[in-house]
């Protein structure tokens, strides 16, 4: 009964969309990388770096959108490093990705300690505030859930639409998808597989960093260690769950976030009082694994995912 009450409350769905936003952004980023044939395990660290960079920029006096741009540029920098090692040099995407995650995370923490050596609790910034879209936000339930979010969330939804249009309706998208399916065909067309893949990884990494920045600039207003807390790995699972399609991945992110929002609320009900809180915290991770088991059999994996392409090699 209590659970039903939660599920029909508008504030619950508003929270679900808020929790979904960083996942949506980073999942789109990973999806673009993987569609071009590159697994980017740098995602977790790039989100940490983006969370710090955006917040730090605003803390040092820039505007909020400039902060978002700074986060994106920092993410693209790590994307450049990742793509340089995995695309032209064709190094193991697993190893490079984990290396980039370690490098991005540790350099973020290093920079944090250098920038704020004395502080015990990190300073707050004036974060993005909810903006109620006129008329639409008056719709019952839906209005509060979807149209009373911060502009950063609206940007995330717009980016899903843009990614989808780019992938399926433009020559560029065709080239990106082909680079992940049959790079030799792309090369035969006179296009550079290297350039397409590197571009996809760099742009995708920018999206991941924006996902991280949402945490410090919209969901919260401060930077904490461990704040990304495995969200990047969840996004890797969401790409598989969404079968490498933007719309399905968006749906997966919202479902996951709804489940996450639900476990937080059930913890506070009478039902949650008798169960150790760790069980609730585990539930989203277990759900991700179960979801993967259900979809993996019929997943349409890009054929050339994780296959390096070396021109002249047949």
């Amino acid at each position: 009964m209590e659970i039903l009450d939660i599920l029909i409350s508008a504030s619950f769905w508003a929270a679900a969309i808020r929790i979904a936003t960083p996942l949506i952004l980073a999942t789109m980023g990973e999806l673009i990388c993987e569609r071009a044939g590159v697994l980017n395990l740098g995602i977790e660290g790039i989100m940490v770096a983006g969370a710090f960079a955006g917040w730090m920029a605003v803390y040092s006096g820039t505007g909020l959108w400039v902060g978002v741009a700074v986060a994106m540029v920092v993410g693209m920098g790590f994307g450049l490093l990742h793509s340089l090692l995995t695309v032209p040099f064709g190094l193991s995407q697993h190893v490079v990705g984990l290396g980039v995650t370690l490098l991005a995370t540790s350099s973020t923490y290093y920079a944090y300690r250098l920038a704020l050596p004395q502080v015990t609790s990190p300073p707050k910034i004036a974060a993005f505030q909810p903006y109620e879209i006129p008329i639409l936000s008056d719709i019952p339930l839906l209005g509060q859930a979807l149209f009373s979010q911060t502009p950063f969330t609206y940007l995330a939804f717009a980016l899903v639409a843009a990614t989808s249009i780019m992938l399926y309706r433009t020559p560029l998208g065709l080239a990106v998808r082909a680079a992940g399916e049959s790079p030799a065909a792309v090369a035969a067309q006179g296009l550079s597989v290297t350039a397409i893949r590197m571009g996809a990884v760099i742009v995708g990494s920018g999206f991941m960093a924006m996902g991280g920045a949402f945490l410090t600039m919209s969901a919260f207003d401060s930077f904490f260690f461990e704040m990304v807390n495995g969200r990047g790995w969840i996004c890797i699972a969401l790409v598989v769950f969404g079968s490498w399609k933007p719309g399905k991945a968006l749906l997966g992110a919202v479902l996951f976030a709804a489940f996450d929002a639900l476990q937080i609320r059930v913890q506070q009900t009478s039902l949650g009082a008798d169960i150790p809180y760790q069980i609730f915290l585990m539930a989203p991770y277990i759900l991700s694994i179960v979801a993967l088991v259900l979809v993996s059999r019929r997943a349409e994996v890009p054929a050339a995912l994780m296959v390096p392409f070396n021109k002249g090699e047949r």
Binding site: L39, L41, L81, L85, P88, F89, G90, L91, S92, H94, V95, V96, L98, G99, V100, L102, L103, T105, S106, S107, Y109, Y110, R113, L114, G230, W233, I234, I236, A237, V240, P276, Q278, I279, L281, M282, Y285, I286, S288, I289, L292, V293, S296, R297, A299, N310, K311, G312
Partner: protein, 349 residues
């Protein structure tokens, strides 16, 4: 640009790039320390002094290397067969968990019976934990990277739950900490009076055993074949899925021994900070060793040296301790590139 294989690499070709990678790592670390206000020319010296400068420091480095040898071996075994086990952290805790569950009084046995039992128990726990992702991969085609990564989070929460519940030490003053294992369960020191326990000896033994299995047994041959080319291995009649499951069992068991050795040899009890990421660092250890089990011993000492040395350097020079992680990440990325360049040359189109 394009990569062209080199038929007969010269000595300079084989040694030059890795040497440059090490040198570049030291230079980058020195510059980073300079940004933090330290004297860049003192960095390397301080790290070496902190890691190997005294008997105490050297023993500390050996102690730190012990769990890294186990997790490094776990990763080396798995990656050789291209089974991407990123969950050594969880398997380490599985081994530690069994050690405290059975070692704190459940089995009131003398050392010669208790210690081997705990070891076997730990190995089984780690193996079973990695068996789940392995079966999900071979049966359902679920990517093991994601499942093993997520298992780390799930299993650490599980441990946290146990440490605040049934395993909580009543004498622990409210800290989430298990009771201490019996003195019969403690690994003795290798040399009396020196702070180095037999976990280190066990780690060396395991490295040799893995090397023998990899180079001298049918299973080792099959694992290599599966890692080189799964389709070709299947075509040659190798039961690929069975080999992957055996690989997973071995890898999980080795990682769990790290947890056993940390509890029984060093800490005596289980806490949530038993491992500062030994499972993840094992990936760096294994990659730097080119997945060679004997090489893992050397690279584990190198990585442990950076950790212990950079810790002491950070304190001496007032540099944030995250410098050690940055050095390792830089070393890893530069070294995989350097090793590629020992076998290929870059050609302009």
């Amino acid at each position: 640009m394009r990569l062209e294989p080199i038929a007969n690499p010269s000595l300079g070709r084989s040694l030059g790039p890795p040497a440059l990678a090490v040198a570049a790592t030291v230079v980058i670390a020195s510059l980073l320390a300079m940004v933090a206000g330290a004297n860049p020319f003192s960095v390397l010296g301080l790290i070496l002094k902190g890691a190997f400068g005294s008997q105490f420091a050297a023993l500390e480095t050996l102690n730190r290397a012990t769990p890294l040898i186990f997790t490094g071996l776990a990763i080396a075994v798995a990656f050789k067969a291209k089974f991407w086990n990123i969950g050594a952290e969880a398997q380490l805790y599985a081994g530690a968990l069994i050690t405290v569950v059975l070692g704190t009084g459940a089995l009131p046995w003398p050392s010669f019976a208790l210690i081997p039992t705990l070891m076997v128990g730990a190995v089984l726990a780690g193996a079973v934990l990695l068996l789940i992702p392995a079966i999900l991969k071979t049966r359902f085609g679920v990517d093991e990277v994601v499942t093993t990564l997520l298992f780390n989070f799930i299993f650490l929460l599980f441990i946290s739950m146990l440490l605040e519940g049934p395993l909580k030490d009543p004498m622990g003053m409210g800290w989430p900490k298990s009771a201490r294992v019996l003195s019969e369960a403690r690994l003795p020191r290798i040399v009396d009076g020196l702070r180095l326990h037999w976990g280190f000896g066990l780690a060396i033994l395991c490295a040799v055993a893995v090397w023998v299995i990899q180079t001298r047994s049918t299973l080792g041959y099959e694992m290599r074949a599966v890692g080189l080319n799964r389709e070709a291995a299947a075509f040659a009649g190798i039961p690929v899925n069975t080999v992957l499951v055996k690989t997973a069992l071995m890898s999980g068991g080795l990682a769990a021994l790290a947890g056993f050795s940390e509890v029984a040899g060093l800490k005596g009890s289980l806490t949530l900070d038993l491992s500062p990421g030994f499972g993840y660092t094992g990936i760096i250890v294994a990659m730097l060793a080119l997945l060679n089990p004997l090489g893992v011993i050397v690279t584990a000492l190198f990585v442990a040296g950076i950790f212990v040395g950079a810790d002491s350097m950070s304190r001496a020079a007032g540099v944030p301790t995250y410098l050690a992680d940055m050095m390792l990440a830089t070393a890893l990325l530069l070294m995989v590139l350097a090793i590629l360049l020992t076998r290929f040359r870059v050609v302009r189109d």
